[in-house]
Subunit: 367 residues, 4 copies
Amino acid sequence: MSGNTLGHLFRITTFGESHGPAIGCVIDGCPPGMLLSQADIQPELDRRRPGTSRHVTQRQEADQVEILSGVFEGRTTGTPIALLIRNTDQRSKDYGNLLDTFRPGHADYTYHHKYGLRDPRGGGRSSARLTAPVVAAGAVARKWLHEQHGIALRGGMAALGATEIAFEGWQHVAQNPFFAPNTSQIDALEAQMDALRKAGDSVGARIVVEASGVPVGWGEPIYDKLDADIAHAMMGLNAVKGVEIGAGFASVAQPGSVHGDELTPQGFRTNHAGGVLGGISTGQDIRVSIAIKPTSSIRIPRDSIDLEGRPVQVETHGRHDPCVGIRATPIAEALLALVLIDHALRHRAQCADVRVSMPAIAASAAA
Amino acid sequence: MSGNTLGHLFRITTFGESHGPAIGCVIDGCPPGMLLSQADIQPELDRRRPGTSRHVTQRQEADQVEILSGVFEGRTTGTPIALLIRNTDQRSKDYGNLLDTFRPGHADYTYHHKYGLRDPRGGGRSSARLTAPVVAAGAVARKWLHEQHGIALRGGMAALGATEIAFEGWQHVAQNPFFAPNTSQIDALEAQMDALRKAGDSVGARIVVEASGVPVGWGEPIYDKLDADIAHAMMGLNAVKGVEIGAGFASVAQPGSVHGDELTPQGFRTNHAGGVLGGISTGQDIRVSIAIKPTSSIRIPRDSIDLEGRPVQVETHGRHDPCVGIRATPIAEALLALVLIDHALRHRAQCADVRVSMPAIAASAAA
Amino acid sequence: MSGNTLGHLFRITTFGESHGPAIGCVIDGCPPGMLLSQADIQPELDRRRPGTSRHVTQRQEADQVEILSGVFEGRTTGTPIALLIRNTDQRSKDYGNLLDTFRPGHADYTYHHKYGLRDPRGGGRSSARLTAPVVAAGAVARKWLHEQHGIALRGGMAALGATEIAFEGWQHVAQNPFFAPNTSQIDALEAQMDALRKAGDSVGARIVVEASGVPVGWGEPIYDKLDADIAHAMMGLNAVKGVEIGAGFASVAQPGSVHGDELTPQGFRTNHAGGVLGGISTGQDIRVSIAIKPTSSIRIPRDSIDLEGRPVQVETHGRHDPCVGIRATPIAEALLALVLIDHALRHRAQCADVRVSMPAIAASAAA
Amino acid sequence: MSGNTLGHLFRITTFGESHGPAIGCVIDGCPPGMLLSQADIQPELDRRRPGTSRHVTQRQEADQVEILSGVFEGRTTGTPIALLIRNTDQRSKDYGNLLDTFRPGHADYTYHHKYGLRDPRGGGRSSARLTAPVVAAGAVARKWLHEQHGIALRGGMAALGATEIAFEGWQHVAQNPFFAPNTSQIDALEAQMDALRKAGDSVGARIVVEASGVPVGWGEPIYDKLDADIAHAMMGLNAVKGVEIGAGFASVAQPGSVHGDELTPQGFRTNHAGGVLGGISTGQDIRVSIAIKPTSSIRIPRDSIDLEGRPVQVETHGRHDPCVGIRATPIAEALLALVLIDHALRHRAQCADVRVSMPAIAASAAA
């Protein structure tokens, strides 16, 4: 209710601040009997980890996760799984001079007014560091989705600022620091980022994530539509300003005779719907696109005010990602996994005894 | 949990199907003591009502709302407000031939697989008719937001298919059948729709809604961010495929030195954030844009399959909106009102005793 | 959140006031595909209905239920089932003189302070009349529990005031106006009630309800224990002041060597636990006992205050049950059914893929 | 949803097992600005701590609590407060021989069937050790209730097995190992416990808790009545088999002319209601009584079955409380505090703008 819990039946509650002693989460509702160890979670955390290239923040955090509960002799027991990550590289003095001012584009001003006080160290609760527990929980969700349903998730960068990134293949995502499904543009992207860092400015990004193997029938009819819950999770991610499912905003200009995906005995002909119709999965790939705004913390001086309302100038010299979108791909994948597992469990609660007699069709006749 | 409830502290649960005996909703959590009568709700329902121009479905529904509970001597009592709307113009035979087939772009296929059976009459539960109770509940929310906080909501069409609609003034919205904030393009829009109807095809739309007067401080920190809940509500609306807050997808290409809204003692200089920072309202206008796909029910024949998986052709001849986006403006406004009142109540639950000592700044230095 | 919803996955939201136009509820989460008609619900409403003997209120309400949604061609569709009951025998003038005073033992005083106003007609929202929608929803739950799991519910009166009622057999419950599992004491109970009515006073009752056939494994580990949710539902029923599971308060004086139910290959030897261990069902009968306080509305004058805090005397002459416990049996059964179906669905959400290899034991070796 | 969360607006989610690395909880919804440090929490944990007298388990746990988040410079920030308690005195081998058998009266059998596997070490998740995080969270709730509303909580033992304990004064509770509000019977209680330990048996207890200073108006109308939520929290506590509010089961035999508490300009004359009418607080003391069953782990041999369903005998020789009721008082107080703060926040969400004009009356004319 106070905004730190995501999901209903597979529910995560996160805690922690950027420069506090620790961050973490409690997962409640993970089905029992699944093999689970730290080794299943750490690789996803490592994908998101800061300090791995010159294009991201140089904060050094090992992000070692400890499983505190919910696992006995290597298997989930159905009870809460608490995950703990100690903060190790806090440098709160970097932010000391920002205690009395509001950084443009940041949550400083709104937190101050909502709560009457705020933890200014590294952005406190509103820091992107708090996406680490999401990624950890997402790894648990992902494992279950894969083992129970063969679901695979993938994602990558589709645009870096004004630069559109051509899709060349998912296999390239792990080969470059941008999570770009591309090889030919990487040098140009590196140059773009180097110039940006030199200028002290920042830039946004567009990220695409997909899930394949999702069975037909997951989602709820009206307010907790699968795509509504995906939009909720994605828009809740720091810096996200837009979410699209399938054709997204391009569907505005499509005539109905193009947009509506035709069905054949071999499957759907197209996937403008992005794998969701009426809020319920179609069996096709779930396709999501998100817009990430440029990092607000930049070296270029910006106008703001202080606690007394007087004009001040703000320059931010701490360690920051010049494009928060660069590390967003594993986080967005984790969020998609968390929404999917929640709906998987909701589906079997209500519809476990449903038997559909029609012949199976392939998810897609097109691919 | 089963997807028919929206909100937490101001919570609506809707019920009904397009061709069943009635539709309606129960509002739980409306603060006590507010004057409320049918006359406060009916005008909003009338804005959304079908059959009001040649560009929308010709189904004739009076959409007369009855207040069944929660009001005593003209005032809300704090107990549930049940709203009932009887269906009067069902023509289920229009849809009889669609019982065994799946209309492309519709929820038929997914409902069938989720539930094992479905109410095919007029789309059943997935019909846009179910937005009427949302509009009714939204009218209650809107009244409270206005009376308690002076909040005003407005909205209109920003694009009809590929046609961008220039913003000329909110006062024009009520003067044309498209909810367009425009006078100069109306004839062209009428012609576009007439051609479309003749062709038996459909088209999408982009809708913009805004709220002004929202105080700084509403929203939750991580997963129930104000913008996340707006995205959830909007993406849950039939046919919506994309949601943007503020600059939305345009923020991808903005440098941080442009996107981050500067503060001055007179207020914010710009509003790229769309009135939300860190998930919490800034005091500026909340600005939301949504993409609505073209209507799936069209006269042009489309390929599909029947219950046995055999190929069939589907033409839809019932009464349909050729652009569901035309009537979407009052619905999107209602959804925004419902999200705002829920956060208003959540805010005072947790932060009722917060006192902020800094001087107030205006919502905007720019406007 | 505002207290008018019961359950999580099988969730009912009720609405209405004693003398308003209608009462009812929305059931969200009923599994699809179950045959359901008004005829499945009406008999349970008739068991609870007022005016059926001289020992209960003489208010005449047909309590005819109308199914507004969620059923297509006689089967549940998985979408919300709205149930409507029109009020027909309101006599609000009976209560007019109570508008400015607070009846001792009633919710008048607390509603007035919580909400700042209240609907005084017949107790408004706090009237026992609002248990009718609970019974209607319970009938739906009960049907599913019986069809899917063979679960049977039963209940009856165990004490009328100071009179303990000997258990002689469940088959007697339907044969007397007290829902007593007894034949030999009925005349005495009738005489006790007649004397009470003559004196203008009222009396409490103890009710016992049971469910047999509940499989082992329903319930949650810590806060939503099956017995915790039963206690929540029962204590939420008007006039209930105490709830026991199994041996209840008698377990305080039992040594552990007596209380702990021994297991044998043929089943449990005893059922002091009342069918719940660690919050999870054992497969034995679920046994619940509740204490119902005497009706607060009595003819004997009582001291109270008016809205200005001045002393007044209150006599209540409207139509009232001299023992609200008399009609409580079908309501308590309905509440038990509602809690059970909710946990049935929760269980299959989380544990649908659990396979337990040990041999089945009988629920009880004793019976 | 999976049962490890208590509360709605002040919400705690606990985690951990008896012999795992750590236990703890996340508090979400604590209002910002309250001074809070470990020193506010530790004393309550110390009251509940094992190993403090010869009448409780000899397990040695320091129960040192660490605040991981949600506090900045000594004040709550409104973000989640994570509390961590490391387990230090696990002796899992004590329980090794119980891995394949089901202890009578324990959750072993039900957990095994629900989850298909269980953590047998010290009872795993179902251990009374998991009440430590509840007490820690309760200390936070209690501090806020006291500072904001002057609410005081107290409790004590009312019966040890068949021995009724006379109430002599709350000040005695801290002076004996039983939390008994009594001095004259302490020697007898010590002797009773010594005999019990010698016999290898166990016994139940009845505990009473109260809150004074609760304002009139807290609670919800139907299903989340204040007393319903109290019953839910208390029945969720390990070993509790019954809950009473106010007169409880004694109200069954009271005539209405006695039970209904009369009001006078000086306050209520009596408090049979236990401080709750219609589910909403009256301003009088909230009075709750709970029945705690005898400890199931005893040295006396008991019949049971193993995983193959074969008969076995079980004797439990680990470290156990011969009466779990002895340490239950601080836990029951904590649960009452948690329910009260949740309703305090719910109340101001919905009714923050309610103004009641009538003169205040004292909570009680009798005391």
